[in-house]
Symmetry: D2
Subunit: 284 residues, 4 copies
Amino acid sequence: MGYRLASRKTKKDNTLVTIGDVVVGGEQLTVIAGPCAVENRDRYIQIALQLKKIGVQMLRGGAFKPRTSPYAFQGLAEEGLDILAEARRITGLPVVTEVMDTRDVETVARYADVIQIGSRNMQNFVLLKEVGRVSKPVLLKRGLSATIEEWLMAAEYVMAEGNSQVIMCERGIRTFETHTRNTLDISAIPAIKHLSHLPVIADPSHAAGKWGMVSPLSKAAVAAGADGLLIEVHPCPDEALCDGGQSLTPANFADLINEIVPVADAVGRKCQYQTKSLVKKSVI
Amino acid sequence: MGYRLASRKTKKDNTLVTIGDVVVGGEQLTVIAGPCAVENRDRYIQIALQLKKIGVQMLRGGAFKPRTSPYAFQGLAEEGLDILAEARRITGLPVVTEVMDTRDVETVARYADVIQIGSRNMQNFVLLKEVGRVSKPVLLKRGLSATIEEWLMAAEYVMAEGNSQVIMCERGIRTFETHTRNTLDISAIPAIKHLSHLPVIADPSHAAGKWGMVSPLSKAAVAAGADGLLIEVHPCPDEALCDGGQSLTPANFADLINEIVPVADAVGRKCQYQTKSLVKKSVI
Amino acid sequence: MGYRLASRKTKKDNTLVTIGDVVVGGEQLTVIAGPCAVENRDRYIQIALQLKKIGVQMLRGGAFKPRTSPYAFQGLAEEGLDILAEARRITGLPVVTEVMDTRDVETVARYADVIQIGSRNMQNFVLLKEVGRVSKPVLLKRGLSATIEEWLMAAEYVMAEGNSQVIMCERGIRTFETHTRNTLDISAIPAIKHLSHLPVIADPSHAAGKWGMVSPLSKAAVAAGADGLLIEVHPCPDEALCDGGQSLTPANFADLINEIVPVADAVGRKCQYQTKSLVKKSVI
Amino acid sequence: MGYRLASRKTKKDNTLVTIGDVVVGGEQLTVIAGPCAVENRDRYIQIALQLKKIGVQMLRGGAFKPRTSPYAFQGLAEEGLDILAEARRITGLPVVTEVMDTRDVETVARYADVIQIGSRNMQNFVLLKEVGRVSKPVLLKRGLSATIEEWLMAAEYVMAEGNSQVIMCERGIRTFETHTRNTLDISAIPAIKHLSHLPVIADPSHAAGKWGMVSPLSKAAVAAGADGLLIEVHPCPDEALCDGGQSLTPANFADLINEIVPVADAVGRKCQYQTKSLVKKSVI
């Protein structure tokens, strides 16, 4: 009882996931960026505008945050969704945000352009079924210790309910290595491309857990064939309520974009961004 | 922001979780058994009666089944809960069953004596909070790749909502080894005993994935200090709708009990069961 | 091209490895103990005598030490072998010690009663072949990330050269868990018993990396069917030149023996040791 | 007692390892290729000439093969070294080959331009010391389950003996994922660059275990900052005595080079190779 709808055998052509003007899985590399969590309105709007100027195509930000400790910041919930909606209005960029509870799927689907299923919920099958019943694209993060097959099977759960707009996201797996937070399984990118027609992007920020590694891992992911990147950017990483250590400043993010452009070009991907000098002068 | 309520530092004495006449975490070893899934009424009642005669203290059986594939048997849902309730009525034994959806917590809590959180939902934080608000004990399975600290933090989520009746359940972790389905982390048992006051039991069936290993792993778990065992028993493992390969027949389960009794005794645990000869003659 | 000589299919009866009066793999549980490294003559002779009184059947001690850092104590080399030989003369107990270099096999074989192949050398195939050509039994530790099949294949390397006296030793595998130094793969014990006729023992000291866990893991290993235990004991763990944190004091080791005896008995194993009171009064 | 000689803190500038005309660790990307094992003279010379025409800078080929099974092809030993020497004479390219036994270090050092320490021997400390005493560069493959710190510590063993010409080689680590043979830890490349001054290359062939993945992983490694690549190429992968499934044909290898050139260029690396058309016409 393997995956069928997600399989390349069933559908040979790449699936293109369309979100407004953005197409994930096509020639254009898709860059999604933003802070881990939506922390407050002004800060989020500010970073959203900076990211827009740098040329980001989609905004990310968590309103519901899955945190290891119950005493850690759990997100702003619906207030966070409101802020995301406002950021979209102001920037014109679509937003992706996580849903954790089947009871929130309808609400999140109303606000978000793309619904994210986080790593810890990759095998939360009731949640997968529920997002399979809405008409919004789903960003499906790979579970911490999910095999590639289990990950595709999770996509199958969504697709079996009628929603074929699934974007796979490799974000590092759990191994014995402790130097990095997780181990980015770079092989998963060509593997998904081979086994499935679904687009696949990489989240080097969560994989590395160290902002200094985000740039080389981003370049690696693009070179390996990723359709996009999901990058954590925070105006003041030191003050971030979560995952500050792996967040880039807008300036560092602009540098990263400048480094990625030629790599994308080398593997036949298009991407149009502000040049570094413009970013440096006008934005930050 | 570590765990506090779950910590041995906060509460020195062992927590005893009481379910009717059953006390988990005390001198008595608690044996919970049953098939992986509730498949149909007659078969479940039959095995429940057999297990009762062998001396099992609690029944298990899944009504909501988390399956890797959306095309696999997903459980009988509320019909399954009805069957469990009937089995309890007939045998007088309490029942433990899994909940997967926040929307089902109230219903499952109405039927079950103990609510199980499965491995794949160990970091489904909204579900943990929800079961933290009901007054039924929670059996918290360790996640496939959860560290001991993350597992205790999951218990903390439940306890922080007011429910301190948490039973930890080690069921094997994911490693590189493929001979067994998972790797039973036997060290987790003394680790939990050292770090926490919560009771801890072992599920050797899911860990091994092979019925022939259930007996040695059960003895190991008891010898290492486990407060109980969760064992899969199925009348006809070959016909099981899930996890047949790791299920014991009632006869093999009776053998296992006979082997465990002296080990439990050797580590100062009490357990009273039918002797093998009685089981063989009268039950099976 | 699987293992043949090591397979239970080739030889149904358990292999008994005989070292003087000691038989590994039979009814009697074999307990091997000693410090990680031979550090100096007087200290080693002292601990050897204490262990003899507690009832240990074989002594361990490293003369050649595989250390992660080149700047850590590397062992006393041949001087250490001399001390081991003297300890044997005085106590009458056989000794097991590690060989790391093909050039040292002949020398080590002259001094030792059992030659140990350490975890890091489990796939040092030239070394395996070399110890396969001597007439001394080989204690083959499982590699940090070796599958059970690879481990048996390593035994096959030794046996294919003519030496069938191989004792397998489970000492913990590398996983994501950091609470313990390694993860004792308790399932490996019944697995080896099932797949092979070779005896298998456990080394809970290296697995746990914490002396407080050695006792529960030892009991677990015996309950799971291990033919013996390899335990680190050091007169003053705080002063040990290596692995002090996982070493038991002689007094704690005597306690451990007292706890193991009833478990061994419960699974049909014989073992005769001094009782605790005797140990406490006369030895320490 | 950490690594000092291998640390970037001790030496800020990148170490350049010079082998004849080849410099590893500089601007130029170093591509090393060849079959897993030297199987026979004619076949090796033929592939060596093809690789030379494609523009490879160094040849690889195993004379001593570490094989999981004692019944698998173990290499041609000194006869293989002779063939490598002849290939060097004919092509003018330096050769890298593995040493497994301390007793063979002198011999291998006489034949080889670079001595390889294989994954399984990464913590064979006596072998590390021995190659630390010769004047040939050492290619140090990462152990299957070695942390980055342990790997650098292994380099330290070589360097502490006086040989500072160490090339690190990431070749995949062992994880739970089974789709690939190993998991290429792409993060290890920027990690080594950050922590150490030593050059680091990648072996995508062993990591993936599937020839179809070698190209995307190679591009990823180069994009992440690798100083070179170690690629398995075999004239007839189906007939290879070892690792055929992960070997490229010369034609596929030429394609790979054509794909790598623009990526190397995008990250500021130089590499001069034959163009695809030339390769296709004149070589294969």
